[in-house]
């Protein structure tokens, strides 16, 4: 199957310095593939090369080396742009146009008829919750509203591949929930979504695979489960009605108990302990089970680990 996005050894050097420009490597031999229908999270700290990658894929900047294709065609191909959508980071549009005019204008660039442009603009403005403000000039929009317009414009052509650069930026909690739901709806429709973010909880909720970049290099890529270190590292058992004698016995065995509230306790068990046997033992002692949950390495922990690793590697290389 042709990958939706195929990137090989993509490299970008910028020139920095006024009098004696010297190259600064913003992206270093990035290689990755995104399969059709995937929601792919592109994560990294600020300055990691996320936006540069997206700009290279949109051909807003040209690569120093390497190649990239979308839907099997080179990124510069006009036919590709007919089939993709893009939300830039902190988007900005024309102050004097209304949201409706902007979307109709952008839709017209795909070659749709006038009535089709109007219908698409209207539907998407309703979908992102701006139906009532459609005839307001964009200069009067708040940052969150502009972000919503940005999302709407990226969906005008029902894209097969959608690129979102920090889609949650500038949105309030309700807006973020709306966008999460929108991404999930698009995923159900089979849209490939490539989104860059540094908000890890969004990636954890939405992505089938993630890549972490740091210092312009790919640190790791894979599903959250497959990533090294992303494994069950213990169990969290919440119980109520635990007798003080039982607590003392557990403490002597080295089982850590934390008081939550209302007589509930959380017990952290190591990964090799049997959660079932522990629950049965506690139950015999008169305690009642509230919940049992595996404790995973969080994406945040993986992220921090990988970013530090990449940082050390880069320092070592220098």
């Amino acid at each position: 199957m042709t990958p939706a996005i195929d990137v090989e050894d993509l490299t970008k050097d910028y020139k920095v310095g006024f009098w004696r420009p010297r190259p600064y490597r913003a992206l270093d031999r990035l290689t990755l593939q995104v399969q059709p229908g995937e929601v792919f999270g592109f994560l990294g700290p600020n300055g990691a090369g996320k936006t540069t990658t997206l700009k290279l894929l949109m051909q807003l900047v040209f690569p120093t080396a390497g190649r990239a294709s979308i839907l099997g065609r080179p990124v510069g191909d006009l036919g590709v742009r007919q089939r993709i959508g893009y939300l830039p980071e902190n988007p900005y549009f024309y102050d004097n146009l209304t949201a409706e005019e902007l979307l109709e204008y952008f839709a017209s660039l795909f070659g749709y008829s006038r009535s089709d442009c109007q219908a698409r603009a209207s539907r998407l403005l309703d979908e992102v919750g701006l139906g009532a403000e459609r005839r307001m000039q964009l200069r009067k929009y708040s940052k969150g509203m502009v972000q919503r317009v940005g999302i709407a414009q990226s969906l005008l052509n029902d894209p097969e591949v959608l690129f979102l650069d920090e889609p949650m930026s500038g949105l309030d909690p309700l807006g973020r929930r709306d966008i999460r739901e929108l991404i999930l709806r698009l995923r159900e429709r089979g849209t490939t979504i490539f989104f860059s973010s540094h908000i890890l909880s969004d990636a954890e909720t939405l992505c089938s695979r993630v890549a972490i970049v740091a210092g312009g290099r790919l640190a790791t890529v894979g599903t959250l489960r497959d990533m090294s270190g992303f494994e069950v590292r213990g169990w969290e058992v919440v119980m109520t009605g635990v007798a003080s004698t039982v607590l003392a016995t557990l403490a002597s065995r080295g089982v850590k108990a934390t008081t939550v509230a209302d007589g509930r306790y959380t017990f952290d068990l190591p990964k090799d302990a049997s959660a079932e046997a522990f629950v049965a033992e506690m139950h015999a002692g008169g305690a009642r089970l509230v919940s049992v949950a595996p404790v995973h390495t969080t994406l945040e922990e993986i992220f921090v680990q990988q970013v530090h690793k990449a940082g050390s590697a880069r320092e070592g290389a220098l």
Partner: protein
């Protein structure tokens, strides 16, 4: 290049620029000057019509220049600086279409503004003609609302299109302030480029002569488009001259737009 895409981009540019507040201020001020020229004309003995014609054309030239430079540079630089171009370039549009579309949209904006100013100017001239007695009118070199004045307006438009092309060209690689300085500088220098041709009389056979001759051919000759004195004094501007000036303006503008396309097509939007 798709004519449909060009038309859509040009229309959006026109829509955006025609709502700029600075445009209303400039046009408003120009109309005020044109209106005031009637009052100033009243203070002169027998020169009133010439004053109105002269001041009206000068106001159109100055405010047209401001519109072309500020709106032209503002729209293009803002697009790059504020990154609205990112979403646009992700659409199925060629970079060349974007540059040419912007150029056409700005030319349309200047044309409409010039048309508005011309209508008001002719209104003042028609009022002048209507309010004066026949004896005074007999002393005029030409009727007040002389249609031949339109030749000067037309050539002013060709000149402003060239200014837009200059502004667009500089906006593709320079910061807004520098683009303004360069465009304005070339506009001013362009009015004196004819002097460069005769510089050899002063410098003799020195190498400077070749530099000034080179500059003469390189700089846009803005004076070519200025026929204000001729039309105000009811002198005929030959069609051949108008055609040559148009061809010169069109060629120069096309060359600048082509250079802008070339730079823009290879530009990294960091």
């Amino acid at each position: 290049m798709s004519p449909k895409s060009l038309g859509r981009i040009a229309l959006a540019v026109f829509r955006e620029s025609v709502r700029e507040r600075v445009l209303y201020n400039l046009v408003g001020f120009a109309l005020l000057v044109i209106g005031a020229s009637y009052l100033i004309g009243q203070m002169t003995a027998g020169q009133d019509v010439k004053i109105i014609k002269d001041l009206g054309l000068s106001a159109m030239a100055i405010f047209g220049l401001f519109i072309a430079i500020f709106i032209g540079i503002g729209l293009v630089s803002k697009e790059i600086e504020r990154r609205s171009i990112y979403s646009l370039l992700a659409k199925p549009v060629r970079r060349s279409e974007l540059v040419v579309g912007k150029f056409l949209g700005l030319a349309l904006t200047v044309a409409i503004n010039l048309a508005v100013m011309t209508v008001v100017w002719y209104g003042v001239l028609a009022y002048m003609s209507w309010s004066e007695i026949d004896l005074v009118k007999k002393g005029w070199e030409a009727p007040a609302a002389d249609p031949r004045l339109l030749v000067a307006v037309y050539l002013l438009f060709v000149q402003l299109v060239l200014v837009i092309a200059l502004a667009l060209f500089f906006s593709t690689f320079a910061e807004p302030l520098w683009a303004t300085v360069f465009t304005f500088g070339l506009y001013v220098a362009g009015h004196f480029s004819a002097d460069l041709k005769h510089f050899d009389v002063i410098v003799g056979d020195s190498p400077v002569r070749y530099v000034t001759t080179g500059l003469y051919y390189l700089l846009p000759n803005m004076a070519t488009f200025d026929v204000k004195n001729a039309v105000v004094h009811a002198q005929l501007v030959p069609y051949g001259y108008v055609l040559t000036a148009t061809a010169y303006g069109a060629f120069y503008s096309l060359a600048l737009v082509a250079a802008a396309v070339l730079i823009f097509s290879k530009k990294d939007f960091k």
